[in-house]
C-alpha cells in the first residue's frame, strides 16, 4: 500500500529525503517544482536555464538538505537556493534579457483592466490573454532587482519579510523596490496599451 505523505510538512519531508526515502523526495519535488521552475523562468526569461536551475535546486537539496537547520521558512530556503542558482547562471552565461524601453504616455489614456477580465466573452478572453502577456513582458523587462521582488511578493505571494530574507536585504528595501517596480510596471503597461498595432480591436472583430 502506497503511503501518503500529504500530511507531512516540508521540513519533515526533507528530513526523510535526507534519510534516503525516495517517496519523500518525490513528494517534495511535486510540491516545489512548479514554484522553482516558474521563478527561474521569469527571472531569466529562458526555458533552458530554468530547467537547469530546477535541476540544480533539487540536486542541492539532495546533497545539502540534511544541513537545513530550520532557520526561516522552508519557502525562503528553497527560493534562496533558486535565486542564487539563477544569478550564478545568468552571470556565467551573460544571458540577461533586454527589452526595448517604450516611451511613457499619459495615464489618462488607460483602459480599465478589470473590465476585460470580468467579461467571459471569447473576445474578451482573448483580450485578457493579451493583457496577461503584456504584464508578463512588462515584468520581464524590469531590472533584475525590481523583477525579483515582484516575482516573490506578487507571483509567489511571499511576505515582505520572506522576500527580504531571500534577497538578503532589509524589509524597507523590499518595500521601496516594490513601489518603484510597480510604478515602472504601470508606465510600461500604459505604454503597451497606447500602441495601436498589437491591440485587439473589439469593435472591428464584432462586425
Amino acid at each position: 500500500m502506497k503511503k501518503s505523505l500529504d500530511h507531512l510538512g516540508d521540513e519533515e519531508l526533507l528530513r526523510q529525503m535526507s534519510a534516503g526515502d525516495s517517496l519523500a523526495f518525490a513528494e517534495l519535488y511535486r510540491r516545489w517544482q512548479s514554484s522553482v521552475y516558474r521563478f527561474a523562468l521569469r527571472m531569466s526569461g529562458a526555458e533552458a536555464l530554468a530547467e537547469d536551475v530546477t535541476q540544480d535546486v533539487f540536486l542541492t537539496l539532495m546533497r545539502d538538505g540534511g544541513q537545513y537547520e530550520g532557520r526561516g521558512t522552508f519557502s525562503s530556503y528553497v527560493f534562496t537556493i533558486t535565486r542564487h542558482s539563477v544569478l550564478r547562471r545568468l552571470q556565467r552565461e551573460r544571458r540577461f534579457i533586454s527589452f526595448e524601453q517604450k516611451t511613457d504616455v499619459e495615464a489618462d489614456n488607460e483602459l480599465p483592466f478589470e473590465e476585460a477580465i470580468l467579461d467571459e466573452d471569447p473576445l474578451a478572453q482573448l483580450a485578457r490573454n493579451e493583457m496577461i502577456e503584456a504584464v508578463r513582458q512588462a515584468v520581464q523587462a524590469l531590472p533584475l532587482h525590481y523583477r525579483e521582488v515582484v516575482l516573490l511578493c506578487h507571483l509567489h505571494e511571499l511576505s515582505y519579510a520572506e522576500a527580504a530574507e531571500i534577497i538578503g536585504c532589509e524589509i524597507g528595501t523590499v518595500c521601496s523596490r516594490l513601489y518603484r517596480a510597480r510604478a515602472l510596471l504601470g508606465k510600461r503597461l500604459a505604454a503597451l496599451k497606447s500602441e495601436p498595432a498589437p491591440q485587439l480591436n473589439l469593435a472591428r472583430c464584432s462586425i
Binding site: S22, L59, A107, I117, I132, A190
Partner: protein, 240 residues
C-alpha cells in the same frame, strides 16, 4: 490627505492591505478629488489586477517531465551507490560538466596513473603489483629493464629506452576482446606504451563512450587499459 500622503499608501491601498478603514476612505476621497492621484490609483489597480491574473495563469506552469524523471533516477542511484549525487544521468552530467567527455576522462586518468607510477617507482621494484583499492587501484605492467635485470632499481633510472608492451603478451582468455576508445581501431599488433589493469565503476566506461546498461553503473569491473605514448587511452579490455 494630500498627494504626498496618498503616494505613501497607494501600494497598500491597491493591494487591499490598508488596515485602517478611515484612512482608506480618506485616500479614496482624495483620489476622486485629485486627477493626478486618481490616475495613479487607476494605474496601480491595473498593475495589481494584471499581476493577479498572471499569477493565477502561471499556477499551472510546471517543470518539464523529463527533469523530474532524471532527478528521481539520480536520487535512486545516489541511494544505491552511496556516491555523491553528482553521479547523474547522461543529460544532467553533460549539462553540468560540458567538458567532461571521454577525452578529458582519459587524459585525467593518464595523468593520475603517471603520477602514481612516478611515486611508486621511487619506492618499489619493477613488476610489483599494486594492491587493488576500491576505485582507482591499478596493477601496472611496467617497462622491463632487460639491460641489467636489476629489479631493485627503478627502470626509469636505468633503462635508456623501455620495451613496449604488446597486446599479444597478455593471456587472451582472461580478458575480452579489444575495444577501441579512439575513432580508429587499434590492431592486435599495435604497440602501446603502457598497459594498466584497473578496477573501475562501470559508469566510467560511459565516459569513454561505451554503451552500457544504466542499472549496472555502480558495479565495479576489472579492465586493462592500453595507453599510447602520448598518454591517451587507446583501447580497453574487460575482464571476463
Amino acid at each position: 490627505m494630500n498627494c504626498r500622503q496618498f503616494e505613501k499608501i497607494i501600494v497598500n491601498l491597491t493591494c487591499d492591505q490598508l488596515a485602517d478603514a478611515a484612512e482608506r476612505c480618506e485616500a479614496l476621497a482624495h483620489a476622486q478629488s485629485c486627477a493626478l492621484c486618481g490616475a495613479r490609483l487607476a494605474r496601480q489597480q491595473t498593475v495589481a489586477a494584471g499581476l493577479s491574473a498572471l499569477a493565477t495563469q502561471e499556477q499551472a506552469l510546471n517543470a518539464p517531465v523529463h527533469i523530474g524523471a532524471s532527478l528521481m533516477a539520480a536520487f535512486e542511484r545516489q541511494q544505491t551507490s552511496a556516491a555523491p549525487p553528482n553521479v547523474l544521468s547522461e543529460t544532467i552530467r553533460f549539462r553540468l560538466f560540458p567538458l567532461l567527455n571521454w577525452r578529458w576522462a582519459a587524459a585525467m586518468a593518464a595523468i593520475l596513473i603517471i603520477a602514481g607510477l612516478a611515486a611508486s617507482l621511487r619506492q618499489r621494484p619493477i613488476r610489483q603489483s599494486l594492491p587493488i583499492q576500491n576505485e582507482i587501484a591499478a596493477e601496472v605492467t611496467l617497462p622491463v629493464n632487460q639491460s641489467t635485470g636489476d629489479e631493485t632499481r627503478p627502470a626509469v633510472k636505468v633503462a635508456p629506452k623501455p620495451k613496449r608492451n604488446r597486446i599479444a603478451q597478455h593471456n587472451p582468455d582472461e580478458y575480452g576482446e579489444l575495444i577501441s576508445l579512439m575513432p580508429i581501431a587499434p590492431t592486435e599488433t599495435e604497440e602501446f606504451q603502457q598497459v594498466v589493469r584497473m578496477q573501475i565503476p562501470r559508469s566510467t566506461l560511459r565516459l569513454w563512450g561505451l554503451p552500457l546498461n544504466e542499472e549496472s553503473d555502480s558495479e565495479q569491473i576489472i579492465a586493462k587499459v592500453y595507453f599510447s605514448e602520448d598518454g591517451v587511452a587507446r583501447a580497453i579490455r574487460l575482464h571476463n
